[in-house]
Symmetry: C2
Subunit: 333 residues, 2 copies
DNA sequence: TTGTAGGCGTTATCAA
DNA sequence: TTGATAACGCCTACAA
């Protein structure tokens, strides 16, 4: 079932059939109708590969993520797909997780399959880019550290969100506010710590290195972190965990240790995962609209593809909002 | 950067270059090395579209889901991608959600881009299949009702899982066990109800139509369902909700109504979403390994693609396991 | 063991 | 307004 069949059925040449099927060119209204009818009747749909060969557009964008696990990624994908679909594009998903194919291989494998790529990976460097991607290949970076790379990049307001959280805790009267940090070397984690420190400084609270506990975004790290904090000669009265997973871990650890939340210790998290509403007490967190992040990334990439935007390498930050629930002890509503 | 460039750089013909790059054909070890080196140096990677034109394989599989929202879908995708990636394939994701393009359009748009498709949609009929897909096009159905369609299909053990749950509740001494049903017309929902009824019958409990409350898998339906049940002249002592979302809704409704769970009323859910562990009391549920479902679907599809399997249209059911937590009041451990 | 040449399904160019 | 025909990049007979 190729365009030849359609052409034959409509009694025209393939060239005319092609013109009639696409918007392009001048075709008599009558012939166009005949061709369209034939295509419909034959259930014709063009072969994407062949078309991309000549147009050198695939109408597909690649989405390369470090993993496909968890709500963050599913939401990103949802946002991207939604945006991309309404533009008539497709989504080729791939994860370059540890143990799987390298980022380079994954990127390379996408060649000829996608017109551009939304990329989330700390490993992506200029050197790699140059080695792997054709010059000028459209790329949008997601949640990456600021780079010199000539690509637009999107992040969420890690710094501002954390600062708002810690400011809120300080506003409730807490003087000893601990931080359970995110993964070492992670850009989000670093930014969240920066926000934490900034808020402390603003509130006139002295930096207290012993209140900063390393973590890795896992629930277990939250448990361990909270336990460590309780061991301190002067334990904190509030804990800010760099993500909700660790915050929930901390919640459990405190409960096990017989501490009441928020009466004895307040807790705040980051991400506002759905579960935050359900834990007991419900978790104060920093809300992030992840599907909007994906949608925005797709929009930027499409703009690049359509050549509508200048090589705009600006960095864009999506806002976050503090969601106050019971775990921080603030008066509700 | 095409194979011509590589050939030229290696001082051979494109045919030889092609042979050297693929496993195929007899090539002198020396020339193979030269060609490979040239390809490496030039960062050559073949154009997928062109290749698919001649081989008529894309090494890509389509994944068509009703939506991309929530953990179920992200886990399915993860399972599929994992399996497919290790076979050197790619994943083209698409959702045929309401308001978006129709299933037919989505399916049609995949032509020439994928070698086969993992499909989850209640709307997929033989008629549609015939109209949209080339005869013999590889399809694997996910969580669909049994059909006459000549495609392998995969489901989870809805019936068995529900039966195990209700059997468990009956075993704890409950005589009045209610069901909050899943969405009308949904195959999973129907199967879960069938399991519920079967377990009641096995336990010698009389069917009690007033204990079957309609629902739609939403948390709100769980709230409404639980309230309705409490209004009954003889309320149930246990509630089985057809999914965890509704079970959690019911949990909240009971708490609001001043009922203790599990002391006054026991609750069980289905799916074992991550949140089930975190609600208070933790929720007894039926565990489903969703990424395994995706992985299995991918495996079946790949078998079809590689022609390794006969046109095996068998229906495969993935087991579920009952996870007992506190909400049902069973002794722990 | 290697090279030549044809063709996969489309669109684009150029004549008619 | 239409039709031949030449690409696009690749693979694979077939010939050398």
């Amino acid at each position: 079932m190729t365009i030849r069949d359609v052409a034959r059925a409509a009694g025209v040449s393939v060239a005319t059939a092609s013109r009639a099927l696409n918007q392009s060119g001048l075709v008599a209204a009558g012939t166009r109708a005949t061709v369209r009818a034939a295509a419909e009747r034959l259930h014709y749909s063009p072969h994407a590969g062949a078309r991309s060969l000549i147009t050198s557009r695939t109408h597909t964008i690649g989405v390369l993520l470090p993993d496909l696990y968890g709500e963050f990624f599913s939401e990103v994908i949802r946002g991207i797909d939604q945006r991309v679909q309404q533009a008539g594009y497709h989504c080729l998903i791939s994860s370059a997780r540890h143990g799987g194919p390298s980022l380079e291989a994954a990127l390379r494998a996408m060649r000829g399959r996608v017109d551009g790529v939304v990329l989330m990976s700390p490993e992506f460097t200029g050197e790699l880019s140059q080695r792997t991607l054709p010059a000028g290949f459209p790329v949008v970076l997601l949640n990456s550290a600021p780079t010199q790379l000539p690509h637009p990049s999107l992040t969420i307001a890690n710094f501002e969100g954390s600062r708002a959280m810690v400011r809120h805790l300080a506003g409730l009267g807490h003087r000893r506010i601990a931080l359970i940090r995110g993964a070492e070397g992670n850009f989000d984690a670093a930014e969240r710590r920066r926000g934490y420190r900034a808020a402390l400084a603003e509130a006139g609270l002295p930096p207290a290195p012993e209140l900063e506990i390393p973590g890795d975004f896992s629930e277990a790290a939250g448990v361990a972190g909270a336990r460590a904090l309780l061991e301190l000669p002067a334990p904190p009265t509030a804990i800010f965990a760099a993500n909700d997973g660790m915050a929930i871990g901390a919640l459990f650890a405190l409960r096990d240790a017989g501490r009441r939340v928020p009466e004895d210790i307040a807790i705040g998290g980051f991400d506002d995962i759905p579960m935050a509403r359900y834990v007991e007490p419900s978790l104060t967190s920093v809300h992030v609209d992840i599907s909007a992040l994906g949608e925005r990334a797709a929009t930027r990439l499409l703009a690049l593809l359509e050549g509508r935007s200048e090589p705009d390498v600006s960095r864009e930050t999506l806002p976050t909002t503090l969601v106050v629930r019971r775990s921080c002890g603030a008066p509700q509503r």
